[in-house]
Amino acid sequence: MSLAVGLDAHAQLAAEHEALIQFLYLAPVGLVQTGIDGEIAMINPISAQLLMPLSRDGCLTNLFAALEDVAPELRHLCETFAHPNGMICDGLHIHLNSGVAGKRMRVPQVLSLSLLKLDGARLMAVLSDVSEQVRRERQLRQSDAWLNALLTSISDYALVGLDREGRVSDWNETIARVTGFTAAVVGQPYSVFYPEGATTPDLVGDRLREADANGWSLDEGPRLRFDGSQFFGSSMISPMPDRDLDAVADGEPAYCLVLRDISDKRDAIDKRRRSVFCDHLTGVANRRAFFEAAELELNRNRRTPRPTALILFDADHFKQINDRHGHPAGDRVLRQLGAALSLTFRQVDVVARVGGEEFAVLLPSSTLAGAAAVAERLRQLVEGQPVGFEGASIAYTVSAGIAAIGAGETIDLDTLIKRADRALYAAKAKGRNRVECWNGDLDAA
């Protein structure tokens, strides 16, 4: 081979190499190759675009570390993957915080992650921003629920007229059949059909506003009969056709509430919800459900001002529990903490696991003081209730940080979370096993 030909071949190889590099630079999807422990070997630019804002230490040396705050389960997921190779997760949705305050740029809210185990030493990851897809799916899901409510065969329904304020305007036979309420129910707000803790006066108004805006408002959950017994029902509120809200006199029907007993559908509905919205370990809401619920509540808050509180709980010295008693014991502690939270808070509150040992509770229509009282009750409950595991009794405590939006204040979700986090930090700094509320002073950072 002549020297010229050799140089030509070399130049051609170099050009091909450059084209390949550029191909990877421009791939509109994140690609990462890591060791089995998540140490990053190769990574393309979109991955850096998506991961850099999440990385706490500003490094991209380990994929699991970069995603630690938003997907703490990854390391565990890989460690417990039993096969020598194969898909560890396919399109796992990772819910990020709600966005950066005051920035106009579209910030990703949901990432999709697929992890492929190549062999005992290597993983390949694919990352992409699926925020827009998830938003569309959410809209579709709501339409599905609406169609479901219309099309499924139902055991019975009550037709209830509601006035401008959501009070029952008329009584009829169907109300008696489904709920057992007599004509004395006229004049009471429709929350009379909800068990205690399942709604708030603010929420009663919210659903009317949503019906005004969208043409309907639908929710499914426990409902209350006159005799105190409960059933699983769906409530759909829609504005009366052709009504002029300003012209409707007090007590005259302005909305129609269709209340259905869908107890027979409950298992299917619960199962579907659990698979999408529940944390697999503790059964409380997952990050996705939390951020969806929190966004919705803050939107409502902006439309109709009312106090809203957020509590962040963190199990104290959790790593020591894991180290001393093993991960299964740690899991047991987390499950018990989740159960204690669910029992302590109202049904209308959103209890969610948002990190490894971190839980968040969103309390609609609740003041800082109100939230602090419940948080303190939970703290005492946990302190007095050690977890039994394989003969051992594991005592543990929690710290809590609370922040609230006062009526009429406008604070975005990130700020609220940051404030609660500052308060939680203060609770930890003051010795743990305590509840701290955010006050302006803690806002220094």
Partner: protein, 130 residues
């Protein structure tokens, strides 16, 4: 000594000085220089940057920076800063720690973001950490 090679990554008032340099002088700098215009189209790409990224300037010049050249910077940490400065008509001169994926390896770098109101030319400067 040539004045151009005196310029350091951290030198004050760099925006104005870079604008004076010829392409050859830019190539001699020991840090990466990517210049782009008001529409984010890349207008200069110096030798240091080209070698580190493994891309010749011809593949990059004339391309929109944040989508076709450095998508890794298309987030609120970098791209947003330039957009904000442009919208507010304010100067930008900030140095941040970042990770670039040069030849698909994660490399810690310092980025210096430069924009001046009244000048369409904007710069991302890249200093590989020592």
């Amino acid at each position: 000594m040539n004045a151009a090679t005196d310029l350091s990554f951290a030198a004050p008032g760099l925006h104005g000085q870079l604008a004076q340099l010829s392409p050859e002088q830019l190539d001699r700098l020991d840090f990466g220089v990517i210049a782009f215009d008001g529409e984010t189209v890349v207008s200069q790409y110096n030798q240091t940057e080209s070698e580190a990224a493994g891309l010749s300037a011809s593949r990059v010049l004339g391309q929109p920076l944040f989508t076709n050249v450095a998508p890794c910077m298309n987030n609120f940490m970098v791209a947003q800063r330039f957009e904000d400065a442009q919208d507010e008509g304010s100067p930008l001169d900030d140095t941040i720690d970042y990770v670039l994926t040069l030849r698909m390896r994660p490399i810690k770098v310092k980025l210096r973001l430069l924009a001046e109101p009244g000048s369409a030319q904007r710069y991302v400067l890249v200093q590989r950490k020592l």
